[in-house]
Amino acid sequence: VDQSKSTQANVNSSEDTSEKVESAMDLTGMKIGYCTPSLNAPYYQALLQSIEASVEKNGMIFMSADGQDDINKQIAAVEDLITKGVDALLLNPKDPDALVGVTKMAAKAGIPVFIIDSSINPSADYVTTIQSNNLANGELAGEWLAKKFGSKKMNIALLSGNAGNPVGKTRKQGLLQGITEEQLRTLGYIDLNIKTQAYTDWSYAGGLKAMEDALVAHPDINVVITESDVCVLGAIKAIAQAGKTDDILIVAGADGQKEAIKYIMDTDFYGCTAMNSPVQIGKNAVEYAIQYFNGKRDFPKTAFTAPLLITKENAAKYYDPKALF
């Protein structure tokens, strides 16, 4: 899969965009197992469904297992997938180090492992990593923000998912890097003023409460940056309630959830978000697995979907009201 191809269908469409991959061998009866770290976020749900659709479209059997947000339970879930004798394992690891063991176990059983969405320690036994470029996406958003503000003073509130989440961490790094790089480039100094970080548990209600308290404690906040759209979608209610939609600009480092895109199209306070398409990742992952079945072995260690920033200019293109995510 080359990069150009992967950018083509970066839309989280509800329509069945999964396509049949060309395959020399008969795929019927091949079993693809996918292990998600949890299903406690719409994003994971969308990713699971995208993989399922692609797998079935290609006449294969889909098997899934859920880590239930617990490293040990995810290990158990992967072990059970291996026991079931899947022919390829798509693993979305909750922790980059903890799941190394099971990749080796899978390799021992002759099962190729494709790491998707999140990263894993390089010492793991895997074919390739398929993920959106969280760092680059974050950077794009950060850059956009720094450009927008120029030398105007930013008072930032950072809305995070939950502490210790590696994906969130990467996106945060991207955002901050983007801001500082851009400031250095254009201003020659860094003025990064993050007033508070609040955790939202990746939920609407969590974001709402976090934002309410943040606004009371720091009435001068004029920027909200976030590791994911989901963290800020609830928070918007708090901002509206406080009558601050004109004073605050929201910048999300990821996901391109449809509600967020809608805000970007319709309002001025939701500045941008970056595309992290579960549909695309799912499709690519299945495609890679099929290629592997057909004998291909020279995969790059990491295959990113292309970074993509969604702003008012291009939002309409990526908005699909019927999308799952």
Partner: protein, 322 residues
Amino acid sequence: MALTIKSQLSSPGGILKFLIKYNTIFIFVLLVVFSAMISDVFFTSINLSNLLKQVSGIGIISIGMLIVILTGGIDLSVGSLVALLAVIFAILINIVVLPVAISLTIVIGFLLGSVSGYLVAYQKMAPFIATLALMTIARGLGFIYSKGSPITFKTPGGEFMADFANNSFLGIPNIAIIFILIVVIAQVLLHYNVFGRLIIAIGSNEEASRLSGIKVNKYKFLVYAISGALAATAAIIVASRTNLGSPNMGMAWELDAIAAVVIGGASLNGGKGSAINTLMGVLILGLIGNILNLLNVPSYPQQVVKGAIIVFAVLLQRFEDK
């Protein structure tokens, strides 16, 4: 209550007794004063109104928890029920008119609570385990019905609810008014009504209650069903606040609700507890989170402080039993 207070104030050592009986209130007042001192934004009307809105959901399920705990039971399912019922409400609000959606959700909540009630009352299952099972099941169903994604309100009814949930009446958030109304009703029922008398009796000696001719099973069944209906009310409120129903809602709320009830001086062995004190427990817990946020304490030290304050609040309560 007024009566009790008066008679106690007039008896010798009355004021001390009063302080002891309502010591949860004093812990609360202490915390308020402390908060006002260390944060100058705490006492702003917007913050207080936020605080009230934030606690209303958990507050409502805490009242359900209280009546269950009074019978000597426990209801671990409430958090998951909030999620499932929020999803159900969001589905309903998009297909039927608002009043029907609201009533149906509450009825479904009542029925779901009845499942635990049936298992506990008529199948003699330990409440902990019956409601733990329902907790797992409800969360699962929530995800199944919503297909894992939040369901957004799309109708005028939904908009109405969103407005309602975020607006105030005479400066008090509407949803807080609902919560306080529920507290008052509960306090009156528990204190002045036979219903309260009976569930407290059941919680303090189930066998003696049975032999006094009380329909123990009926009441045990009822409290879980009511807890379910209150979970539905909470679900409607929290869903309306965010304008959607998500299967992720109410995560671990059951623990907060139990903590609120216990901080409010109730005994997990049943037979002891009051709605007013539970309200205080809810406010204390909410306040701790709020003030720590205002003080910019990072999330994890926050947990440590919160745990410590719970211990402290409950330790203060020990004097009550003397």
